[in-house]
Symmetry: D2
Subunit: 296 residues, 4 copies
């Protein structure tokens, strides 16, 4: 049976812009989507970690999901984050995403109480069973608090419409083990920016990243070098963007991407407390890094 994997290449994660008073700014979101689409990225993923999914109300999440999918309008596939602490809410948001036309949904198991693998499995199955579009299983223990082993991810892929894995644990060995366990053609995507090169070398089909908010062309060029099998060019492109990739992760995506957009002339509005803007000294470092990367 062919498994549906509607993504490849650079999957861009827009942040969620806010108005000066802290409401979700849908007009600015559309403008950010236009920038991303114009850059040529291969997919758009609203409501990811960069999109501050967990900090939004249900109504805000629905507005962002619907606005994004409608605005992208099929030009590239869309991947909507639908995670929630309770299974009931995750199912709700997955159904909503399908209803408004998302290509697929992304689901990270969020935890307060540590979940057993059985609980995580049932959570995924409940969400997957509630929809007909594909599900990307997202592993990011540093944010979600649950660490899914490669063995468990391989098991999740046995659920018919769980067809993709996004691995953000920050260890390329995890990705390699997934390939060994789930087969050479397993559809895994890299979610750890500093591992962009290593993950592609290991066979990642794509790179789920907020970096295109700031440097879309460099991320696309790296993917192109990899698809050509040109290791030397890929390495050179990677090391050029590496300082930015490390900076984005170290400072937290919502803070660093917002600061970078502002430096690039696009004001994304304030952050939602407790998240605060990037401190000035780090903003200056970001300015220096961007200056070496961007055409002026």
């Amino acid at each position: 049976m062919a498994r549906t994997v509607p993504f490849h290449g650079i999957i861009a994660y827009p942040i969620t812009p806010l108005t000066p008073t802290g409401e979700v700014d849908l007009a600015k979101l559309k403008s950010l989507l236009d920038r991303l689409l114009a850059s040529g990225v291969h997919g758009i993923a609203p409501l990811g970690s960069a999109g501050i999914l967990p900090y939004l109300s249900d109504a805000e999440r629905e507005a962002v999901a619907e606005t994004t999918v409608k605005h992208v309008a099929g030009r590239v596939p869309t991947l909507v984050g639908v995670s929630a602490l309770t299974t009931e809410r995750a199912v709700h948001h997955a159904r909503y995403a399908e209803r408004v036309g998302a290509t697929a949904v992304m689901l990270i198991p969020m935890s307060y109480w540590k979940l057993t693998e059985d609980e995580v499995f049932r959570h995924y199955r409940a969400v997957a069973d509630a929809i007909t579009i594909p599900v990307m299983a997202y592993n990011n223990p540093a944010t979600g608090g649950v660490d899914m082993r490669p063995e468990f991810l391989a098991r999740l892929l046995e659920i018919p419409n769980v067809t993709m894995v996004k691995e953000s644990a920050g260890d390329v060995g995890r990705m390699q083990k997934l390939v060994r366990l789930a087969g050479d053609d397993v559809a895994f995507f890299n979610g750890s920016n500093p591992l962009a090169l290593a993950a592609f070398a290991a066979g990642a089909r794509g790179w789920c990243t907020a970096a295109p908010n700031l440097i879309p062309q460099l991320t696309l060029d790296l993917y192109a070098a990899v698809t050509k099998g040109d290791l030397t060019a890929a390495r050179s492109l990677y090391y050029r963007q590496m300082p930015l990739l490390e900076f984005l992760v170290a400072g937290g995506l919502p803070r660093t991407v917002a600061a970078g957009l502002e430096l690039a002339g696009f004001d994304p509005g304030p952050l939602r407390p407790p998240l605060m803007p990037l401190p000035d000294v780090e903003r200056e470092r970001l300015r220096d890094i961007l200056r070496t990367l961007l055409p002026n």
Copy 2:
């Protein structure tokens, strides 16, 4: 300036019972509160981790807070959990708790994106400034995802109405450091069940625990031995209940306390998915442990 510390001894954390269809069961909550009050515990803390705070909707949280405070009716002080991912929601719930008459609120910084200490500090100050009742700062990196160092906890205690710390990191060294940094009379409470004895030895004023749902008398006896300075009796009482304390933590409080209540003849209803009931084999172990501890 005298600092308000309205708690000491055994502060009991009720779970949040659900109806067979998964709604919050306020009638059963009152019944559980009656059991706890009858046992003689020194305080009641709804909406803690055991009370599955993060898995409840805003309306459910408000209902549990109001019902608990009104039902306890001042017989012992109440400590209402008010944590939320966003500062705005935490402030909302803190104000609600004060309005319905809570003695104090408990606040754990929850994270998706790792928070800086500055962000956590502002979060605490915003909540503390919004109310006039005392705040207990709650450190539990395993659930909340934020680890507050003793140095930082000492800094939080400089906010006027942040008067108490609950330390659940599971390391008695943390508590000792807090005493060294914040002074001999710092009002710290132990939130790590297996450290009950070590924390009292280190000077904890009380023990925040869900164990009284199952073994209230043993927890009270341990506290009494400690207040008498009787180390030998305290040690003996600790080792008697230790297997249960370790079991409760290892299996996750909502699962293990619910199973224990059911074994004791009090049906707390189902868990809220993704949380699932304790597996049968562990339930049998719990039955064996309880059998050695409870009068028949």
Copy 3:
């Protein structure tokens, strides 16, 4: 069968003094032993971590073992460290210790390659079988590189002359688990200075410590308070010496104890490279801490 446990209370770990040219200084070692014996400690343990056992040649180790045992001359029991990377060398040193009259030997499994539990068990059995005096199993993953779980330590105690455990993992929960697994009367000793109070509360028979090189009376007073079951006095004594205990561990025993001895007028000679003397700024902090603790 009664198990031989020849230690209790404060077991003092002398450092190994060196001459100005870096040789082992046996005369000064005797002088340090005299200080410790005069202070009233309950046991003497040469060639521990503080005694830089792993940095000494076989001949140096033998000289320190023999000199110590002969000089103590039965006034208190002696516990000689006999650890080595290879089983053959550990057996050699254990036999040597017995031959020169040691009361017991202490054995920490040292690792370069991670050892399996089976390998560690055989290592202990080989050493224990080679001698007739008791063996203290010493767990200190931070130095030795092997972490022995409480379950495994309980198994080691089934070897007839492995009669004692020294637990230095820095987690009082480990000690408590050992008591639960091996019985209330298990002879465990605390090797983690900052856990002195918590370990005694948990039932430790003694405290293996280098602190008596600097503050023998405070360590003896803490033990006396504990044996009287006086928790309040024990807590007060603990917090008084806690800053020093934390300092000793944080800076590494050979460096901090040597600096402290020098500040107290006893010159222990240089350290053996790569170990270097305590940096000046830390030495000043140590001076400040000692000033608050010592009579002048």
Copy 4:
């Protein structure tokens, strides 16, 4: 100033064969060296972790160093491990290695007491200053117990004849950071077998590995694919040998390589206790893995 980097490609780490009675077997060592040289590896590194350096006496180490260098006789460069707990012994072995004609020495900081960066730096400088041949700094916290950050490794490379780094921390991000800090042409080598592909992608000049004891051709083919810049071929070659690479590391090199050699018809003799032979069930798994990789 040109820096001397006499290695590239596959640097093979022979194990140290023992006689049936547990002595170092120099005749068998020569035979193993002949196998490795015949396979075409680009360098030979005796007395590495696989060569159980820390478990050998000084005399044994000298015999292995001299025998290896003389037997290789310049056909490929030799890299002799000279690590020791004390600086004095490391200097001794480094001088010995130079005297018998080694091309370079490898030095891992070994620890019992945690070393400060200052202590580690002086240790390296003392050894480097004592010889004129190049030094490879070897980072392997899992065995040596010291973790050298990329920032520190870059600092070590400022010592004139410390010209190479072997990174075995198991994190490709470390290697990438070293490149960013020390420049594109930094001579770093991969010492983590499961990271062979990722490290070459990141720019490693070579792979320090015991795998050629068992599968020399596959390691050489991977390096050839990388030097051609052929990512697709490199990936395919990597995944073919990955199960063996993971197996070697998981079971510990001395055990797994010895078992593999025996399965391949070369009896390396017993292990030195506490190290024990690979358990039978794992030996069968190794047989299965090797069967898929080796011509019959």
